[in-house]
C-alpha cells in the first residue's frame, strides 16, 4: 500500500510544481518526462524481455525528426497529430529492423541495434537537403489541444501548457505500459527473459514476442523523441547518435531495470544530476562514468534497489 500513497504525493507535487518552482527547474522537467516515456519502452525490452538495445536513439531520432519535418515542411502543427505520426514512423522502421535484430541475443543483439542506429545517424548527417545535416532542423512550436498559445512567451508556453501536455502523455504512457507488463503478453516476455529454451518448450514463440516488445519499445522511443524536440526548438543528428543510446541505457541502470518505476526515477536522477554536475564541473562525463561503475558493481538494482528492501536482482511483476 506504500506505492499508491507515494504515487499520489508525487503526482500532486508534479502538478503544482509549475506554480511554485522557478521556471528553470520546471523546464528541466520537460526532458525528464520525454525520457520517462522513452525509458518505459526501453525497459520493456531490457528489464522485462532481457534484451539490451544500444541503438534506441534511432527511434528517438525518428520521433524528433518526424515532429520537425511535420511542423516545418508539411505545416502540421498539432501535437495530437505529431505524436501518433512519430509512433507510426518508429513502428514502420522498427518492424523490419526488429525482425532482424531479435534473431540475435546478448552482445549480438546490442551490436546490431547499434549498427542500425549508426546507419540512421549517418543518413541524418549526410542527406543535407532532407535533414539539414549536422545543423539539423527547426522544430516549430506545436499547437496543443488545437490552440496556438500565441499570447504565451516561449518560457510561459513551456512551463504552462507544454508542461501539462507532456505530463499527460507520460501518465498515459505509464498506464498503458503498466497494463502491458501485467498482461498475458507481459508474462510471456518474462518467461523469455528468464529462460528462452523453457519458454519455447511451453509453446511461447520467443522470436515473435521479442519482436512485438521491440516494436512497442520503439513506439515509446518515437513518442518520447517527439516530446523532446519542442523545448529546444531544434533537432539534430546527435539525437540518433550512439552515445545517446548509451545515455538512456545508463538512465535505466541508474534507476533500476528490475522495477517498473525504476527507469522513471533514473530519468529524473540523470537529468537533475547532469544539470547539477555540469554547473560545477565541466567534465561531467567523468563523474557519470564513476557513478555507472559504482552502480554496476555495488548497486545492480539501481536507485530503486537501494530504496526497496527486496534483494536488487529480483524482477517482479511490479
Amino acid at each position: 500500500m506504500r506505492t499508491p500513497v507515494a504515487l499520489a504525493v508525487l503526482g500532486l507535487a508534479v502538478l503544482v510544481l509549475p506554480l511554485v518552482a522557478p521556471p528553470y527547474y520546471v523546464t528541466l522537467m520537460l526532458p525528464f518526462m520525454a525520457y520517462g516515456v522513452i525509458l518505459l519502452g526501453l525497459n520493456l525490452l531490457f528489464g522485462y524481455t532481457g534484451l539490451v538495445s544500444f541503438g534506441h536513439a534511432l527511434f528517438i531520432g525518428i520521433g524528433a525528426y518526424t515532429g520537425a519535418v511535420l511542423t516545418t515542411k508539411l505545416g502540421v502543427r498539432h501535437m495530437e497529430l505529431i505524436l501518433p505520426a512519430a509512433a507510426l514512423a518508429a513502428a514502420v522502421v522498427a518492424a523490419p529492423v526488429g525482425a532482424l535484430c531479435v534473431r540475435y541475443v546478448k552482445i549480438y543483439f546490442g551490436m546490431l541495434t547499434l549498427a542500425f542506429g549508426m546507419v540512421f545517424y549517418t543518413f541524418l548527417l549526410k542527406f543535407y537537403r532532407l535533414t539539414g545535416g549536422d545543423e539539423g532542423m527547426r522544430m516549430l512550436r506545436p499547437y496543443l489541444l488545437g490552440r496556438e498559445w500565441t499570447g504565451f512567451s516561449k518560457v510561459d508556453y513551456l512551463v504552462g501548457p507544454y508542461y501539462y501536455f507532456s505530463l499527460a502523455v507520460l501518465v498515459l504512457a505509464t498506464l498503458v505500459m503498466w497494463r502491458i507488463v501485467g498482461s498475458p503478453f507481459g508474462l510471456c516476455l518474462k518467461t523469455i527473459r528468464d529462460n528462452p529454451l523453457k519458454a519455447e518448450s511451453l509453446g511461447v514463440s520467443v522470436a515473435r514476442h521479442r519482436w512485438y516488445a521491440f516494436m512497442i519499445s520503439a513506439v515509446y522511443a518515437g513518442v518520447g523523441g517527439a516530446l523532446l524536440a519542442p523545448p529546444t526548438g531544434n533537432v539534430d543528428p546527435t539525437l540518433a547518435y550512439w552515445t545517446h543510446s548509451g545515455n538512456i541505457v545508463f538512465m535505466v541502470l541508474l534507476g533500476g531495470f528490475s522495477s517498473f518505476f525504476g527507469p522513471l526515477l533514473g530519468a529524473f536522477a540523470f537529468i537533475f544530476l547532469q544539470d547539477t554536475v555540469m554547473s560545477v564541473f565541466p567534465y561531467w562525463r567523468l563523474i557519470f562514468g564513476a557513478v555507472l561503475a559504482f552502480i554496476v558493481i555495488f548497486a545492480p538494482g539501481g536507485l530503486m534497489g537501494l530504496f526497496a528492501r527486496r534483494p536488487p536482482v529480483e524482477v517482479s511483476g511490479a
Partner: protein, 249 residues
C-alpha cells in the same frame, strides 16, 4: 499409435548418432528409453520432439510428420517435454510459471491489454496444477528459491499444464535425491492420470524407476535399438542386461 518413428537416422558429419531407430508409442503406454552414454538417447529425444530434423527416416505424431517442426508447433499439436537439466523461470513464482503455461495453451500470449490479475479462471487453474504437484503452499515462492526436487516438479508441472496428449520426460528424477525419487515419480504419474495424459515417454538411468513404471522398455546401444520389450522381457534378455543395464554384484 500416437507416436511413431521409422528408421530414424541422424548423422553429425561422419558420426552416426542414430542408425535406423524405429519405435512406436501407443495410447496409454508408459515407455522408457534406456541406454549407456553415447547410445543416442539425447539425439533421439531431440528428433522425437521436433528440435532436430532426422537425416533419414521420419517421425509421426498423430499421423503427422513432425521432423524439425520446433517446440512451439509441437506443443500446439499436443506434445510436451521436460528437461534433463531442470529448466525453470528463476524470477517467476510457481503460480506465474503455471499461469504462463495456461496462457500459452489458450494462445493468449499476444494479449497486450488483458489483465492477468483479473483472470480468476487462469489463477484457479494454475493453483489446481500446483496442488496436484504438491506445490500449492509454495505458489508464491520464486522458482529459484525452491529445493531441487520442487524445481524438477515445477518443470514437469508446467509442461503438464499444457494438457498434452503425450509427454516426454528427459530423466525425470536426475538431480533428485535417491530418497525422493519415488515420491517425485508417484506425484508425476498421479498427476498424469488426473490430467488425462494419454502416453508418457521417459529417458531414465535409474533402473528401479524404469522397471517400476514402464509398460515397455526400449534399449538403445550405439545408435540402434537393441531391444524393445516389456520389463520382464528385458530382464530375461541376457545380452541387454550385459550391455545396457549391468549386473548387480
Amino acid at each position: 499409435m500416437i507416436l511413431e518413428a521409422h528408421d530414424l537416422r541422424k548423422l553429425y558429419g561422419d558420426y552416426v548418432a542414430l542408425d535406423g531407430v524405429s519405435l512406436s508409442v501407443r495410447e496409454g503406454e508408459f515407455v522408457s528409453i534406456i541406454g549407456p552414454n553415447g547410445a543416442g538417447k539425447s539425439t533421439l529425444i531431440n528428433v522425437l520432439t521436433g528440435v532436430l530434423a532426422p537425416s533419414g527416416g521420419h517421425v509421426r505424431f498423430k499421423g503427422r510428420d513432425i521432423g524439425g517442426i520446433g517446440p512451439v508447433a509441437l506443443t500446439r499439436l499436443g506434445m510436451a517435454r521436460s528437461f534433463q537439466l531442470v529448466q525453470i523461470f528463476p524470477e517467476l513464482t510457481v503460480l506465474e510459471t503455471l499461469q504462463a503455461a495456461v496462457v500459452s495453451r489458450r494462445q493468449h500470449g499476444s494479449r497486450l491489454f488483458a489483465s492477468l490479475r483479473a483472470d480468476h479462471r487462469l489463477h484457479a487453474e494454475a493453483l489446481e496444477v500446483a496442488a496436484l504437484f504438491g506445490l500449492a503452499d509454495k505458489a508464491h515462492r520464486r522458482a529459484r528459491e525452491l529445493p531441487q526436487g520442487d524445481k524438477k516438479l515445477l518443470d514437469v508441472a508446467s509442461a503438464f499444464t499444457l494438457r498434452p496428449e503425450i509427454i516426454l520426460l528427459d530423466e525425470p528424477t536426475s538431480g533428485v535425491s535417491t530418497a525422493d525419487k519415488h515420491t517425485v515419480m508417484e506425484i508425476m504419474v498421479g498427476a498424469a492420470k488426473q490430467i488425462g495424459l494419454r502416453s508418457i515417454i521417459q529417458v531414465e538411468h535409474d533402473m528401479d524407476i524404469v522397471f517400476g513404471y514402464s509398460d515397455r522398455i526400449v534399449a538403445l546401444h550405439q545408435g540402434k535399438v537393441l531391444a524393445d520389450a516389456t520389463p520382464a522381457g528385458i530382464r530375461a534378455d541376457a545380452h541387454v542386461v550385459d550391455t545396457v543395464i549391468g549386473r548387480k554384484r
